[in-house]
């Protein structure tokens, strides 16, 4: 039995255990332990890979194996699952009113399906894993019912459209190369004429892009992720969308190859396929990030960010240099920790308050200081500022864009980051800063079972920010696995001659600077003392608890007014137009079947048929 077999067995056992014991009071703890075991098993496995079982069906060979890329994504998957499950193991589960067995099973099924996807050893297996992941995700998204069901259904449409595009690409590729194996596909793609190759790239892009929520396939994601029960949302937001990145890395980079993409020109323009993908990624960074800015629900705000961050990852990956692709991949793990932290905090607030409406919160720092700390670390990381890990990966992406001579993409990335900073400020301001509402006076800090995981992931994001070398080794192996140039790293960061970064220094200087500042302040006799929120006045009047002086409605009104008209609703319009068009055709089809005098159509059809024959 290979290590991968053991891992699959453990994952399947988790699913089985949840199917049987999911209703048990301590099922969450058991699940967390089992995810922990899986994680441990993964760490005992060689990073460079392991094989697992294979079987044959209808003359096709299906095989599963891990390489370093799979391993890298599996670490993120299992890590996120572990913390998400932990988060939901204690008080959250006690308060959960839905169907517990179903929920726990759905989570375990997602993990299992994703491991299967990551282990796919050929294109057919990839599709099987892809579908398994999609449907497991659907189950997890839909099980809350109500709005979640509608959102999941919308997700399903996009996921199925993607899956079908993927399937179309696979069968075409199979017929061109005679096999589903990666080797054959690589050879076929290398020899393929530009036209069909473009078609395949578009199909693969649609297929994987639907899960990664690339523009214009992104409309489903925010609601689907946000309406899922808390640990599920954490898991989905942290890692599930990244499966699209995994598959894109596998196919676009691993099978087609960056040089081939660079050589493939868009007809009649000076652009190449690489540019197209990069610009799609850049637009995915910018537009959803500014959509996030408009959100008034903390969950949706974070989910919209998730879409944008996926764009960063793809952007880095598709640049293809050692630095850029490492940045893109590193962002996967950094972002997973960051997003998990943020979502855990937000759902912690929801657990205490009952909602996450940014217009009806504020000042919670006084009641939930540790959550505030976690959120603070999280948004620093999300905005890409030192000393958190988000800074490292984004810095790598930016540097690679500049090194690669792509100023406009760099500009787009910067604009995206600007939007991120604005919106995370909205998040922390409207949640934790400002005036505490009277009805929230009696709130408690989030329960320990939820607090520990969020602080743990925040710590992870901090540690990997200070010492990115801890995980850059994984990234380097993953790069090697898909034939990318490998990043040269140190414990503190990057050691390349053209762009080097040592976070140990950066953080050291930063904290030293803070220390100097503190020394100056206290040395100059500065004093601090706590002030109550209501120990304040405005316009000459003292404030009382009943007076609202914390304005959170219509945040960034001026900015929204400025940019609102640019992109508002165009994608909805597109989606709606497709839906209406289909609906119209469907009405016609229904009319054909409902007509009670069928023979007229028969006659018309037979005339047409005979005419066809005769002519």
């Amino acid at each position: 039995m290979t290590p991968l077999d053991t891992l699959y067995l453990a994952s399947a056992a988790t699913l089985a255990a949840m199917l049987v014991l999911g209703d048990w009071r301590r099922a969450g703890v058991l699940a967390t332990l089992m995810y922990g075991v899986q994680l441990a098993l993964l760490f005992t496995m060689q990073r460079t890979g392991s094989t697992s079982f294979d079987l044959s069906a209808l003359g096709f060979e299906l095989s599963w194996r891990f390489d370093a890329l799979s391993w890298f994504f599996a670490v993120v998957t299992l890590g996120t699952a572990f913390f998400a499950s932990w988060y939901g193991a204690g008080e959250w589960l006690r308060a959960y009113t839905g169907r517990r067995r179903l929920f726990q099973s759905a989570l375990a099924a997602n993990v299992f399906a994703m491991l299967l996807l990551l282990g796919s050893g050929d294109l057919l297996t990839l599709f099987v894993g892809w579908e398994a992941t999609s449907w497991a995700g659907f189950l997890l998204m839909a099980l809350a019912g109500g709005l979640a069901r509608d959102a999941a259904l919308r997700y399903l449409v996009y996921a199925m459209a993607g899956a079908m595009a993927l399937l179309g690409a696979l069968v075409v590729l199979f017929q061109a190369g005679g096999s589903f194996s990666y080797e054959a596909a690589r050879a076929t793609l290398a020899a393929m004429a530009p036209g069909p190759l473009w078609a395949l790239i578009i199909l693969f892009g649609l297929g994987f892009g639907a899960k990664l929520a690339l523009l214009p396939l992104h409309l489903w994601q925010a609601a689907a992720y946000s309406e899922t029960p808390a640990p599920g949302s954490v898991f989905l937001g942290g890692v599930v969308g990244r499966m699209g990145l995994f598959a894109l890395a596998l196919v676009l980079v691993g099978l087609i190859g960056i040089p081939h993409l660079q050589a493939l020109a868009v007809p009649f323009t000076f652009l190449t396929a690489q540019d197209v993908v990069a610009w799609v990624a850049a637009l995915t960074v910018v537009l959803p990030t500014y959509t996030a800015l408009k959100q008034n629900d903390a969950r949706y705000l974070l989910a919209w960010h998730g879409i944008g961050q996926g764009g960063y990852m793809l952007l880095g990956l598709i640049v293809g240099s050692a630095l850029g692709s490492a940045g893109g991949l590193l962002h996967v793990i950094n972002y997973a920790a960051t997003q998990a932290t943020l979502l855990m905090v937000v759902f912690g607030v929801r657990h205490r308050v009952g909602h996450t409406d940014l217009n009806r919160l504020g000042g919670l720092v006084a009641r939930m200081p540790l959550s505030f700390l976690a959120l603070l670390l999280g948004i620093i990381s999300l905005a890409g500022l030192p000393p958190m890990s988000g800074f490292v990966s984004k810095w790598m992406v930016y540097s690679s864009l500049i090194q690669d001579g792509r100023p406009f993409l760099f500009l787009a990335a910067i604009v995206g980051t600007l939007g991120t900073i604005l919106s995370v400020y909205k998040l922390i301001h409207n949640l934790f800063l400002g005036q505490l509402r009277a009805e929230h006076e009696q709130l408690n800090e989030a329960p320990l079972s939820m607090l520990i995981p969020m602080l743990a992931t925040a710590t992870l994001a901090f540690v990997t920010g200070v010492a990115p070398g801890l995980v850059l080794g994984w990234v380097a192996d993953a790069q090697a696995a898909i034939g990318l140039p490998v990043i040269d790293y140190t414990l503190g960061g990057i050691a390349s001659p053209r762009a080097s970064l040592d976070m140990l220094w950066v953080v050291g200087v930063m904290f030293a600077g803070f220390g100097v500042g503190a020394l100056l302040f206290y040395g100059a006799g500065g004093k601090t003392h706590r002030v109550h929120q209501l120990d304040n006045y405005a316009g000459g009047h003292f404030l009382d608890a009943g007076m609202r002086y914390h304005y959170s409605d219509n945040f960034y009104a001026g900015l929204m007014h400025l940019i609102g008209g640019w992109y508002r609703g165009s994608f909805h319009w597109l989606e709606g137009a497709i839906g209406s068009g289909l609906s119209l055709v469907a009405q016609g089809a229904g009319g054909w079947y409902r007509a009670i005098n069928p023979a007229f159509y028969l006659l018309a059809a037979s005339v047409a048929l005979i005419a066809w024959v005769a002519l």
């Binding site: 075409v172 017929q175 469907a586």
Partner: protein
């Protein structure tokens, strides 16, 4: 193998004698039908075991073909022939008291006899006769619910069927005028010389329209939704399940043996695509489950015709996979619709009321959409691979349409699954028999999934045997008795 005729004749004999027998004893009239079906199924299984899947023929009346009528039983024909009595047994109409019940039983027996005949016969006009018998028997069964709308739906069905059969008859006339023969094997011999012309194609078009009525082929399928909505669900299940497959089998034999030309395949593909797209889109808008299933059945059969238009044993294997999958799934779904017949929106809560039924529905829906590793996925994959192999503009359009329509299918099926599992007032539960039939379908589906390699080998064997026209001709015209 003269015994081949027995599974066709015995049900007819029983049907003739059922009414007189009903005067003697009600119990006899009630149980004779199922008993004879059991015997027929047993006989067919025994024949299959004896021959081991090798094709055999039986010359009716001892007249060697092509002068006489011949029954030809290869593995595929036997499989379909076995499916007929077995489906009929599972979907036997609920016993009505008195004469109506006896009549219904007699019609069921006639349907089984003719269905078996359609699976086995190797003579075009004989196929037409059995087809007509099946049609007339199904008229009676479809109207047996006795509601006004069932009568109207049946009248529509009669009119379309009548139109179809007269077109088929014209097609037979064209064919006969060209070749002077009705035996499929001889037609296959003569086809390259006599039928490779517009008249031959016209004959094919006519036969396609004629036999297409039962197979829910595009222009002649608009009797389907109302009839399935108004007839008894077991009858709908029977018609959508095995009966449509018998008509498909006839068309399969025709395309493989006689009309193996690109033009004929093109025609099949275009009509199949039209059915696929209109059916699935209409299902998308359907507001009640029976009609949803009827429309989706049209769509599925459209896919089947697309698969049927693909050349070679691989294309045939794809078509058979789709056909067998649909044969398994659709009757089971119709049995579930027996209780879930109202507006879709009113089904909320049904998942709680009967979890087994909802679970089965979800399983079937997943398989219909084509989610790996369920059998439906492999069937669809085979079709898609063959379409991609063709790689002509027609094939690629078909490929794109099949894929696009799958998304629509997933949407309406899982919208319904979502409704089933949402909280609601629906409390109706299924009859044990409906659940048993659906459960059996589900069990076979899962078993097929678990034994996929064996199933796929068997399928490839079936397809290569059915595609072997040389063997068909030598065995039939070589005068094997």
């Amino acid at each position: 193998m003269n015994a081949l005729v027995l599974p066709v004749v015995l049900p007819l004999l029983t049907a003739f004698l059922l009414q007189p027998a009903g005067r003697l004893s009600a119990a006899l009239a009630r149980w004779a039908g199922p008993a004879v079906l059991l015997v027929c199924a047993g006989l067919l299984v025994q024949i299959a075991l004896l021959t081991g899947g090798e094709p055999v023929t039986a010359a009716i009346g001892g007249f060697a073909p092509p002068v006489g009528i011949v029954f030809y039983a290869d593995a595929l024909a036997l499989l379909m022939a076995i499916a007929v009595p077995v489906s009929a047994l599972l979907l036997w109409p609920r016993a009505e008291a008195g004469e109506a019940g006896v009549r219904q039983s007699a019609l069921m027996l006639l349907l089984v006899g003719s269905g078996t005949g359609m699976a086995l016969s190797g003579d075009l006009f004989n196929l037409y006769v059995f087809y007509e018998l099946l049609t007339v028997a199904s008229f009676g069964l479809a109207s047996a619910t006795g509601t006004g709308r069932a009568y109207v739906a049946t009248v529509r069905y009669v009119l379309v069927s009548g139109f179809g059969s007269l077109i088929a008859l014209a097609g037979i006339a064209l064919l006969y005028a060209q070749t002077g023969s009705l035996n499929l094997a001889q037609l296959a011999d003569l086809a390259p010389e006599r039928l490779a012309n517009p008249l031959g194609l016209a004959a094919f078009a006519c036969l396609l329209i004629g036999f297409g009525v039962k197979a829910e082929l595009f222009p002649v399928n608009n009797w389907v939704p109302d009839l399935y909505a108004c007839a008894g669900k077991p009858i709908s299940a029977l018609l959508a399940g095995v009966v449509s497959k018998l008509a498909v089998l006839v068309l399969l034999r025709l395309t493989v043996l006689v009309f193996d030309s690109p033009e004929a395949r093109e025609m099949l593909m275009v009509l199949g695509l039209a059915g696929l797209v209109t059916g699935e889109l209409a299902a998308w808008r359907a507001r009640d489950l029976p009609r949803l299933l009827a429309y989706s059945s049209i769509g599925q059969l459209g896919l089947l015709f697309v698969a049927l238009s693909l050349p070679g044993p691989a294309g045939l294997a794809a078509a058979l996979a789709v056909a067998l999958h649909h044969l398994l799934v659709k009757p089971a779904l119709f049995m579930l619709a027996e209780r879930w017949h109202g507006s879709l929106d009113k089904l909320a809560g049904a998942g709680r009321a009967s979890p087994l039924a909802a679970g089965l529905f979800t399983l079937f829906a997943l398989s219909l959409v084509g989610v790996p590793p369920l059998p439906g996925f492999w069937a669809k994959l085979l079709v898609l691979l063959e379409l991609a192999r063709g790689a002509g503009p027609f094939d690629l359009t078909a490929l794109a349409l099949v894929l696009a329509v799958t998304v629509v299918e997933a949407h309406y099926l899982f919208r319904l699954v979502g409704i089933l599992y949402s909280p609601g007032e629906f409390r109706d539960r299924h009859s044990p028999r409906a659940l048993a039939v659906a459960g059996l379908g589900g069990a076979v589906l899962v078993a097929a999934m678990l034994t996929l390699p064996a199933v796929s080998d068997a399928l490839a064997g079936l397809a290569s045997q059915a595609a072997d026209t040389a063997a068909y001709r030598t065995l039939t015209l070589g005068g094997g008795l």
